[in-house]
Amino acid sequence: MTQFLLPALGGAFLALSAVLLMASLGRIAGISGIVGGLLPPKPAAGDEAAWRYAFIVGLLLGPVVLQLVTGANGIGAPAASLPAMVASGLLVGIGTALGSGCTSGHGICGLPRLSVRSFVAVGTFMATGALTVFVTHHLL
């Protein structure tokens, strides 16, 4: 039971974050969009950059707060080799920028808005993610 209660509680916190950001700044809590907006060639400036940096600082503080409250920060050790980590990062960066979103923007925020684009994106990245794990864990 608790095995599913904690994940559901985690999901509830993600939802609280998404609703808070929408209710206050009117923005989608899409991490790839928030981070990507700070990058060249046209990085956000002024207040538009400041709230994005504040959100990112918060993302870093989340596990620290969890550590203070529960004694564990929830961060697991990397499971992939360094070259795989770099390849993964490149693909995640290119893919989320091309596809206009990731698990947060399309998943937590897009699905509740009943966005067709988000349903297609989530179905697609879940499928290729599962396929990739099948290949790396069961075929290679």
Binding site: P7, L9, F13, S24, P41, D47, A80
Partner: protein, 136 residues
Amino acid sequence: MARILAALAAGILFGLGLALGGMTDPAVVLGFLDIAGAWNPSLAFVMGAGVVITFFGYRLTMARGRPLLAPNFQLPTRKDIDPALVGGAAIFGVGWGLAGYCPGAAVSSAVSGSLDVFALLAAMLVGMAIVRFARR
């Protein structure tokens, strides 16, 4: 200042949610994607709770007509399914399945100081910037 604090609070809640939900543990994420192996369904509960609560939260929020600290809601308006959306999502999924980090988890996990996570994060920023330059 209120806008900065709101964004900071939202970021903390998001980082807490990721860490509590297991999204910052690659073993949990890869276990969820490993349908043919010892499948770990926990991320379905993260996503399920997150989507259902946001559905009702967004409705309440939108009913107010405008955000508290901004003139209007900035929502995506596109409805077309184009190759960039499908291709991009497909590429993201492959990257997600390779190491088990979505963008939020990559940022939050960096607080552990892991050099491997820094490498993934740096590569992710490069990937995002490449697309932004290509689209300029």
